[in-house]
Protein backbone atom coordinates (compact mmCIF):
# COMPACT_ATOMS: atom_id res chain seq x y z
CA UNK A 1 0.00 0.00 0.00
CA UNK A 2 1.38 3.35 -1.01
CA UNK A 3 2.29 5.78 1.69
CA UNK A 4 -0.16 8.72 1.68
CA UNK A 5 1.47 11.94 0.63
CA UNK A 6 1.23 14.76 3.11
CA UNK A 7 1.92 18.07 1.46
CA UNK A 8 4.04 20.63 3.21
CA UNK A 9 2.18 23.50 4.88
CA UNK A 10 1.67 26.56 2.71
CA UNK A 11 2.05 24.46 -0.41
CA UNK A 12 -0.71 26.40 -2.08
CA UNK A 13 -3.54 23.99 -1.38
CA UNK A 14 -6.37 25.81 0.29
CA UNK A 15 -9.68 24.19 0.94
CA UNK A 16 -12.11 25.63 -1.67
CA UNK A 17 -14.39 26.77 1.12
CA UNK A 18 -11.78 29.21 2.32
CA UNK A 19 -10.74 30.53 -1.06
CA UNK A 20 -12.11 33.99 -1.75
CA UNK A 21 -10.40 34.49 -5.07
CA UNK A 22 -10.92 31.51 -7.31
CA UNK A 23 -7.96 30.61 -9.45
CA UNK A 24 -4.32 31.31 -8.98
CA UNK A 25 -3.03 34.78 -8.25
CA UNK A 26 0.56 33.71 -8.66
CA UNK A 27 2.83 34.90 -5.90
CA UNK A 28 1.28 38.37 -5.62
CA UNK A 29 0.57 37.98 -1.90
CA UNK A 30 4.15 36.96 -1.18
CA UNK A 31 5.47 39.97 -3.13
CA UNK A 32 3.03 42.20 -1.23
CA UNK A 33 4.18 40.75 2.09
CA UNK A 34 7.83 41.31 1.17
CA UNK A 35 7.09 44.83 -0.10
CA UNK A 36 5.54 45.77 3.25
CA UNK A 37 8.74 44.84 5.06
CA UNK A 38 11.17 46.46 2.63
CA UNK A 39 9.15 49.67 2.17
CA UNK A 40 8.47 49.79 5.91
CA UNK A 41 12.16 49.72 6.77
CA UNK A 42 12.90 52.49 4.25
CA UNK A 43 9.90 54.57 5.40
CA UNK A 44 11.14 54.55 9.00
CA UNK A 45 14.22 56.46 7.85
CA UNK A 46 12.40 58.72 5.36
CA UNK A 47 9.61 59.70 7.76
CA UNK A 48 11.72 60.11 10.90
CA UNK A 49 14.01 62.54 9.06
CA UNK A 50 10.93 64.28 7.58
CA UNK A 51 9.44 64.70 11.08
CA UNK A 52 12.75 65.86 12.54
CA UNK A 53 13.40 68.47 9.86
CA UNK A 54 9.82 69.79 9.80
CA UNK A 55 8.66 69.52 13.43
CA UNK A 56 11.72 69.33 15.69
CA UNK A 57 14.56 71.32 14.10
CA UNK A 58 14.48 75.11 13.93
CA UNK A 59 11.11 76.65 14.80
CA UNK A 60 9.26 73.35 14.41
CA UNK A 61 5.71 73.63 13.15
CA UNK A 62 5.62 77.39 13.74
CA UNK A 63 8.29 77.79 11.03
CA UNK A 64 6.30 76.02 8.31
CA UNK A 65 4.86 78.19 5.56
CA UNK A 66 5.04 78.54 1.78
CA UNK A 67 8.62 79.82 2.00
CA UNK A 68 9.67 76.78 4.03
CA UNK A 69 8.34 74.44 1.34
CA UNK A 70 9.94 76.57 -1.38
CA UNK A 71 13.27 76.38 0.43
CA UNK A 72 13.12 72.60 0.65
CA UNK A 73 11.97 71.95 -2.92
CA UNK A 74 14.61 74.29 -4.32
CA UNK A 75 16.85 71.26 -3.78
CA UNK A 76 16.47 68.12 -5.90
CA UNK A 77 17.52 66.18 -2.80
CA UNK A 78 14.30 67.00 -0.93
CA UNK A 79 12.22 66.65 -4.11
CA UNK A 80 13.43 63.07 -4.55
CA UNK A 81 13.15 62.46 -0.80
CA UNK A 82 9.51 63.59 -0.72
CA UNK A 83 8.68 61.80 -3.97
CA UNK A 84 10.07 58.50 -2.66
CA UNK A 85 8.24 59.01 0.62
CA UNK A 86 4.96 59.76 -1.21
CA UNK A 87 5.12 56.67 -3.41
CA UNK A 88 6.33 54.22 -0.78
CA UNK A 89 3.96 55.48 1.92
CA UNK A 90 0.95 55.44 -0.40
CA UNK A 91 1.67 51.94 -1.70
CA UNK A 92 2.47 50.66 1.82
CA UNK A 93 -0.71 52.23 3.21
CA UNK A 94 -2.87 51.10 0.30
CA UNK A 95 -1.70 47.52 0.66
CA UNK A 96 -2.34 47.68 4.41
CA UNK A 97 -5.91 48.89 3.88
CA UNK A 98 -6.37 46.26 1.15
CA UNK A 99 -5.44 43.54 3.66
CA UNK A 100 -7.82 45.01 6.25
CA UNK A 101 -10.68 45.14 3.71
CA UNK A 102 -10.00 41.51 2.77
CA UNK A 103 -10.07 40.58 6.46
CA UNK A 104 -13.29 42.27 7.50
CA UNK A 105 -15.52 42.74 4.45
CA UNK A 106 -17.16 39.38 3.96
CA UNK A 107 -19.33 40.04 0.91
CA UNK A 108 -17.65 39.90 -2.49
CA UNK A 109 -19.45 43.05 -3.62
CA UNK A 110 -18.51 44.99 -0.47
CA UNK A 111 -14.85 44.09 -0.91
CA UNK A 112 -14.98 45.05 -4.56
CA UNK A 113 -16.51 48.45 -3.85
CA UNK A 114 -14.23 49.30 -0.94
CA UNK A 115 -11.15 48.35 -2.93
CA UNK A 116 -12.41 50.30 -5.91
CA UNK A 117 -12.68 53.43 -3.75
CA UNK A 118 -9.28 52.69 -2.19
CA UNK A 119 -7.43 52.24 -5.49
CA UNK A 120 -9.08 55.30 -7.01
CA UNK A 121 -8.02 57.44 -4.03
CA UNK A 122 -4.51 56.06 -4.21
CA UNK A 123 -4.09 56.87 -7.91
CA UNK A 124 -5.51 60.39 -7.44
CA UNK A 125 -3.28 61.17 -4.43
CA UNK A 126 -0.09 59.72 -5.93
CA UNK A 127 -0.57 61.49 -9.28
CA UNK A 128 -1.52 64.77 -7.57
CA UNK A 129 1.43 64.64 -5.17
CA UNK A 130 3.89 63.78 -7.92
CA UNK A 131 2.65 66.63 -10.14
CA UNK A 132 2.83 69.08 -7.22
CA UNK A 133 6.45 68.18 -6.45
CA UNK A 134 7.56 68.56 -10.08
CA UNK A 135 5.49 71.57 -11.13
CA UNK A 136 6.05 73.59 -7.96
CA UNK A 137 6.80 77.26 -8.63
CA UNK A 138 8.44 79.10 -5.70
CA UNK A 139 7.63 82.49 -7.27
CA UNK A 140 4.17 82.16 -8.80
CA UNK A 141 2.43 85.02 -10.59
CA UNK A 142 -1.29 84.80 -9.77
CA UNK A 143 -3.72 87.06 -11.67
CA UNK A 144 -0.81 89.22 -12.74
CA UNK A 145 0.44 89.66 -9.18
CA UNK A 146 3.91 88.32 -8.51
CA UNK A 147 4.60 86.55 -5.20
CA UNK A 148 6.90 88.67 -3.04
CA UNK A 149 9.68 86.86 -1.20
CA UNK A 150 13.37 87.50 -0.66
CA UNK A 151 14.23 84.54 -2.88
CA UNK A 152 12.07 85.81 -5.77
CA UNK A 153 13.24 88.26 -8.46
CA UNK A 154 11.90 91.74 -7.93
CA UNK A 155 8.85 92.34 -10.16
Amino acid sequence: MATPTIETPRSGRVSPGYSRTPGSRGNFEMIAWLFMRISGAILVVLIFVHLYVNLVAGDGITGIDFGFVAGKWASPFWQIWDLTMLWLAMLHGTNGIRVIINDYAEKNSTRMWLKGVLYTSTVVIVVLGTLVIFTFDPCPVIDGVAHVADYCPAP
Binding site: G40, L51, L55, D65, L128, G129, F136, P140
Partner: protein, 127 residues
Protein backbone atom coordinates in the same frame (compact mmCIF):
# COMPACT_ATOMS: atom_id res chain seq x y z
CA UNK B 1 -29.80 31.63 21.18
CA UNK B 2 -29.59 33.10 17.68
CA UNK B 3 -30.79 30.86 14.91
CA UNK B 4 -27.76 31.36 12.76
CA UNK B 5 -24.31 30.55 13.95
CA UNK B 6 -22.08 33.58 14.19
CA UNK B 7 -18.79 34.16 15.93
CA UNK B 8 -19.59 35.10 19.51
CA UNK B 9 -16.25 36.70 20.18
CA UNK B 10 -13.23 37.74 18.25
CA UNK B 11 -10.61 37.49 20.97
CA UNK B 12 -7.82 35.33 19.61
CA UNK B 13 -5.14 34.68 22.20
CA UNK B 14 -4.86 38.15 23.69
CA UNK B 15 -1.66 39.27 25.31
CA UNK B 16 1.26 40.99 23.63
CA UNK B 17 1.02 39.25 20.29
CA UNK B 18 -2.61 40.03 19.53
CA UNK B 19 -2.77 43.48 21.09
CA UNK B 20 0.34 44.70 19.30
CA UNK B 21 -1.26 43.47 16.06
CA UNK B 22 -4.46 45.39 16.89
CA UNK B 23 -2.47 48.54 17.71
CA UNK B 24 -0.46 48.16 14.50
CA UNK B 25 -3.66 48.03 12.44
CA UNK B 26 -5.32 50.98 14.16
CA UNK B 27 -2.22 53.19 13.95
CA UNK B 28 -1.75 52.15 10.31
CA UNK B 29 -5.29 53.21 9.36
CA UNK B 30 -4.94 56.52 11.24
CA UNK B 31 -1.64 57.29 9.50
CA UNK B 32 -3.07 56.38 6.07
CA UNK B 33 -6.01 58.77 6.38
CA UNK B 34 -3.73 61.54 7.62
CA UNK B 35 -1.46 60.90 4.63
CA UNK B 36 -4.35 61.48 2.21
CA UNK B 37 -5.16 64.79 3.92
CA UNK B 38 -1.49 65.75 4.13
CA UNK B 39 -0.92 65.35 0.38
CA UNK B 40 -4.05 67.46 -0.24
CA UNK B 41 -2.97 70.25 2.13
CA UNK B 42 0.55 70.31 0.71
CA UNK B 43 -0.94 70.48 -2.80
CA UNK B 44 -2.25 73.95 -1.93
CA UNK B 45 1.25 75.27 -2.69
CA UNK B 46 0.12 74.96 -6.33
CA UNK B 47 -2.98 77.06 -5.67
CA UNK B 48 -1.34 80.05 -4.03
CA UNK B 49 1.09 80.86 -1.20
CA UNK B 50 -1.80 82.47 0.70
CA UNK B 51 -4.01 79.37 0.43
CA UNK B 52 -1.19 77.16 1.72
CA UNK B 53 -0.27 79.51 4.58
CA UNK B 54 -3.94 79.79 5.62
CA UNK B 55 -4.40 76.04 5.91
CA UNK B 56 -1.02 75.48 7.56
CA UNK B 57 -1.95 78.15 10.11
CA UNK B 58 -4.76 75.84 11.28
CA UNK B 59 -2.15 73.17 12.02
CA UNK B 60 -0.53 75.58 14.48
CA UNK B 61 -3.45 76.02 16.87
CA UNK B 62 -3.28 74.18 20.21
CA UNK B 63 -5.99 71.60 19.43
CA UNK B 64 -4.32 70.61 16.18
CA UNK B 65 -1.01 70.65 18.04
CA UNK B 66 -2.33 67.93 20.34
CA UNK B 67 -3.62 66.09 17.27
CA UNK B 68 -0.11 66.19 15.79
CA UNK B 69 1.20 64.72 19.02
CA UNK B 70 -1.26 61.84 18.61
CA UNK B 71 -0.27 61.42 14.97
CA UNK B 72 3.44 61.31 15.79
CA UNK B 73 2.69 58.86 18.63
CA UNK B 74 0.91 56.61 16.11
CA UNK B 75 3.75 56.90 13.57
CA UNK B 76 6.50 56.19 16.12
CA UNK B 77 4.65 53.14 17.46
CA UNK B 78 3.91 51.83 13.96
CA UNK B 79 7.57 52.34 12.98
CA UNK B 80 9.08 50.62 16.02
CA UNK B 81 6.54 47.83 16.05
CA UNK B 82 7.05 47.40 12.30
CA UNK B 83 10.75 46.80 12.94
CA UNK B 84 9.68 44.25 15.57
CA UNK B 85 7.46 42.51 13.00
CA UNK B 86 10.39 42.39 10.55
CA UNK B 87 12.57 40.86 13.28
CA UNK B 88 9.89 38.30 14.18
CA UNK B 89 9.70 37.30 10.50
CA UNK B 90 13.38 37.33 9.55
CA UNK B 91 15.43 36.90 12.72
CA UNK B 92 15.84 33.31 13.83
CA UNK B 93 15.14 34.12 17.47
CA UNK B 94 12.47 36.73 16.65
CA UNK B 95 9.42 34.63 17.53
CA UNK B 96 11.01 33.57 20.81
CA UNK B 97 11.64 37.14 21.94
CA UNK B 98 8.56 38.83 20.44
CA UNK B 99 7.22 39.79 23.89
CA UNK B 100 10.48 41.28 25.09
CA UNK B 101 10.74 43.13 21.79
CA UNK B 102 7.25 44.58 22.27
CA UNK B 103 8.20 45.97 25.68
CA UNK B 104 11.37 47.42 24.12
CA UNK B 105 9.15 49.02 21.47
CA UNK B 106 6.90 50.50 24.17
CA UNK B 107 9.91 51.74 26.17
CA UNK B 108 11.61 53.34 23.16
CA UNK B 109 8.30 54.82 22.09
CA UNK B 110 7.84 56.41 25.53
CA UNK B 111 11.35 57.93 25.48
CA UNK B 112 10.91 59.36 21.97
CA UNK B 113 7.42 60.68 22.76
CA UNK B 114 8.50 62.40 25.99
CA UNK B 115 11.29 64.18 24.14
CA UNK B 116 9.08 65.05 21.17
CA UNK B 117 6.19 66.25 23.37
CA UNK B 118 8.40 68.71 25.21
CA UNK B 119 9.78 70.09 21.95
CA UNK B 120 6.52 70.17 19.98
CA UNK B 121 4.28 71.52 22.75
CA UNK B 122 6.74 74.30 23.47
CA UNK B 123 6.47 75.28 19.78
CA UNK B 124 2.68 75.02 19.75
CA UNK B 125 2.11 76.81 23.05
CA UNK B 126 4.83 79.36 22.33
CA UNK B 127 7.46 78.37 24.87
Amino acid sequence: MPKTLSPTGTLYRGREGQWSWVAHRITGVVIFFFLLVHVLDTSLVRVSPEAYDAVIASYKNPIMGLGELGLVAAIVFHAFNGIRVILVDFWKKGPKYHRQMLWSVVGLWAVVMIAFSIRHLSHVFGG
